[in-house]
C-alpha cells in the first residue's frame, strides 16, 4: 500500500509539471488553433537560463542562501522566456497567420530545431547539473516519502494554475482572450487588439514553461539541450487527453498522465510477470494519446468553445 501511495505521489509531482507545460499548448491552440511545437524547447531554455544564472551567482558569491539564488535564477529565466515566446510568435507565426494551417506547424518544428541547436552551441552538449542549493528535507506520509522539493513543485504549480484561471476569467485581458478564442474577426470588430492578445497568450504560456523548466531541472538534478523534446510531446499528449483548448482539461490531463505513467511503469513489470518492464514508461503517454484520439478525439473535457482561451 505504501508503495502504491509513493507511486501516486511520484505521478502527481510529474503530472503537475506536465500540466504547467500543457497549459502553454492549450492556450495557444485555443486562440490560434495552432500547435506550438516549439513550446517544449521554451521549457528547456527556461531551465538552461535559470541554471546559468544560478551557476554564475554561486561562482561569484558562494555564501548566498540557496533559495535566494534559485529565486534570482527564476526571475531571470521567466522574463527571458517571455521575450522568447513573444519573438517566436512575431517571427515564425504572425507572418503565416493567413497561410494554410500546415505552414505554421512546419515553422513551429523549425523553431524547435533552431532553439535546440542554439542551446547546444551556448551551453554545450553535455548534461548541466543542478547545484545542491535546495532543501533536502523529507517527510513521511502514510509510509511513503515526500520531499520538500516535491511539495514545493506541486504547491507552486497549483498556485500558478489558479493565477492563470483567475487571469482568464476575471480580468480585462482574460475577457479579450476568451473573445479572440471565440471569433478573431468579431473580437477585432468589437475593438479588441487581437495582435496584443495573441502576443500576451504566448508570453504567459512561455512564463509557465520557464517555471516548469526550472522545476524539471531541480527535480531531476540536471538539464540538457534536448530535454524539451520529450517533455513537450508528453505535455502535448496531456493537453489532448484533457481536451486541447480547454484550460481545466490541460490541468486534468497533465495530472492524469503523470499518474498513469507512474503507476504504469511501477506495476507493468509485476503484472506481466517481467515480460514488459518499467522501461516502457515513455510508451504510456503515447498509448494514452492514441486511445484518446481513437475513442474521444475531443478529449476528456471536450473542446467547449465558450471557455477555451
Amino acid at each position: 500500500m505504501d508503495i502504491f501511495i509513493q507511486q501516486l505521489i511520484n505521478g502527481l509531482v510529474l503530472g503537475s509539471i506536465y500540466a504547467l507545460v500543457a497549459l502553454g499548448y492549450t492556450m495557444v491552440y485555443g486562440i490560434l488553433e495552432l500547435i506550438n511545437f516549439a513550446h517544449g524547447e521554451v521549457t528547456m531554455i527556461g531551465a538552461m537560463v535559470a541554471l546559468a544564472v544560478i551557476g554564475a551567482l554561486l561562482g561569484a558569491h558562494p555564501e548566498l542562501p540557496g533559495m535566494m539564488v534559485l529565486l534570482a535564477g527564476v526571475l531571470v529565466a521567466v522574463p527571458a522566456c517571455m521575450a522568447l515566446g513573444f519573438v517566436i510568435e512575431r517571427v515564425a507565426y504572425r507572418p503565416l497567420r493567413k497561410a494554410p494551417r500546415l505552414a505554421p506547424l512546419i515553422t513551429a518544428i523549425g523553431v524547435s530545431i533552431v532553439l535546440q541547436n542554439a542551446a547546444m552551441l551556448i551551453w554545450g552538449r553535455g548534461y548541466v547539473s543542478f547545484p545542491a542549493i535546495l532543501p533536502r528535507g523529507r517527510h513521511d506520509l502514510l509510509g511513503a516519502t515526500v520531499s520538500d522539493l516535491q511539495i514545493a513543485i506541486v504547491a507552486l504549480s497549483i498556485l500558478t494554475m489558479f493565477g492563470l484561471v483567475f487571469l482568464v476569467n476575471h480580468t480585462r485581458l482574460g475577457r479579450a482572450m476568451r473573445a479572440t478564442a471565440q471569433s478573431r474577426e468579431v473580437a477585432e470588430l468589437m475593438g479588441v487588439n487581437v495582435n496584443t492578445v495573441i502576443s500576451a497568450t504566448f508570453i504567459i504560456g512561455s512564463a509557465l514553461a520557464a517555471i516548469a523548466g526550472v522545476m524539471v531541472s531541480a527535480y531531476y538534478g540536471l538539464a540538457h539541450y534536448y530535454m524539451g523534446f520529450l517533455l513537450g510531446l508528453k505535455a502535448f499528449s496531456a493537453a489532448v487527453l484533457g481536451g486541447i483548448g480547454n484550460i481545466t482539461g490541460a490541468v486534468l490531463g497533465g495530472l492524469l498522465l503523470g499518474v498513469i505513467e507512474a503507476l504504469g511503469a511501477g506495476y507493468i513489470g509485476d503484472l506481466t510477470g517481467g515480460f514488459l518492464g518499467s522501461n516502457y514508461q515513455d510508451v504510456f503517454a503515447f498509448m494514452v494519446l492514441i486511445l484518446v484520439l481513437v475513442f474521444r478525439p475531443s478529449g476528456l473535457l471536450g473542446e467547449r468553445v465558450a471557455s477555451r482561451a
Binding site: 509513493q6 552538449r125 523529507r138 531531476y220 540536471l222 518492464g277 522501461n279
Partner: protein
Amino acid sequence: MRIGHLSALTLSIFGLLAGCGQDKTTSDGVEIIRIGSVAPLTGAQSHIGKDNDNGARLAIDEINAKGLTLAGKPVKLELVSEDDAADPKTATNVAQKLVDQGVKAVIGHLNSGTTIPASKIYHDAGIPQISPSATATAYTNQGYNTAYRVMANDAQQGKALGQFAVANMGVKKVAIIDDRTAYGQGLADEFEKAAAAAGATVVAREYTSDKSTDFTAILTSIKGKAADLVFFGGMDPQGGPMARQMKRLGLTAKLLGGDGLQNINFIKLAGADAEGVVASSPGLPLDAMPGGVEFKQRFEAKYGPIQVYAPYAYDAVEILVAAMRRADSAEPAKVLAALPKTDHAGVTGPLRFDAKGDTAGGAVTLYQVKNGAWSVLETVK
C-alpha cells in the same frame, strides 16, 4: 562547348574520388599514416568521448614528435577523429567512412554497443581495431582476428563486482537495473551471475534506456521489494540522477555500478547523494598505474582533467605503433600478424593479449565516493 566543360568536370571529380583512399604524403615527401579514432563527441557521453580522443591524440603527438621510421622511411601519423554519438547506426556509417578514407587502423569505439557493429566493418576491410573501453564480452567472441581491447571485459568486471557485493558489502537482496545497451546489459548479466553464485537473491531486474532521467517508478517498485543493493549497469548521465532519486525516495539500499559510473561527472550530477556509492573500473587506479602519475601531468597540461579512459586510449595507440614497428610496416595485414605478440609495458600496466584479443589477466579496482571524490577500496586481480 558545354559538354566539353561537363566532361572535364566529371573527369576531375573522378580524379578526386580516385585520390581518396590513396596514401597521402606531406609537402616534404613524408608518408602520412592515418589512424581512425571513434568515440561519441556529441551527446550526453561527449565528455568521456573527448577524453578518449584526447588520450589517443596525446600518444600520436608524442610519437610524431619523437619521429617514427618504418621500412627505412620517416612517416608521420595522423589521427582522424570521428563522432559516433554513442549510436550503433551512426557507428557503422562512421566505420565505413574511415575504411573508405583508407585508415590503417582504428582506435575505438568507446561504447560496446557501437564497437560491436563497427567491428564487422573493420574485420571485412581487414583493418586492426583496438577499443580502449568497450568491455562487452560479445566484442571479442565473434572470432574476428581484427578485434582487440586493452581493458578487462565485463565477465571479469561483473564477477569482481558480484563477489565484492556479497563478500565485502554483506548484501543479501539485490535489485539490478541496466540501460539496455550492450555494455549495461552485459555487465548486469555478469553481475547477476556472480552475485547469485555468491549467495545473494535477485529481487528485481529492471531496465531503462541510455536517455532516461526519470527512475522514480523503477526505484519505488524496488523500494517495495526491500532490496539492500541496487546495481546499475550503465553510464553516469543515468547513474547521477538515479543516485539523487534513490535518496529522495528514502531508499536505504546502496548503489553499485561499473566503470560507467566511476568518473568525475557522476559525482557532479549526483551531488551530495553520490556519497557512499561504490563503482568499479577495470585496471588499476590512475595513481597506481606504472606510468599513471606522469601520464596525468602530461595529459592535464594539454587537455584538462582526465575523465576515465584516456590512459587506455593512449596505450591502445602505443600498442598499435609498437606492432607497426615490429612489422616494420603500417600495412594492416602485417600489423595484424604482429599484434598477437604484444607485450607492452603501458601506462595502465603490462599488456598482453589472449587468443581472442582480450587482455590477459586484467585487474579490476573498486572505488567509493568519500567526501565528494572517488577513493580506492581495493584492487581485485
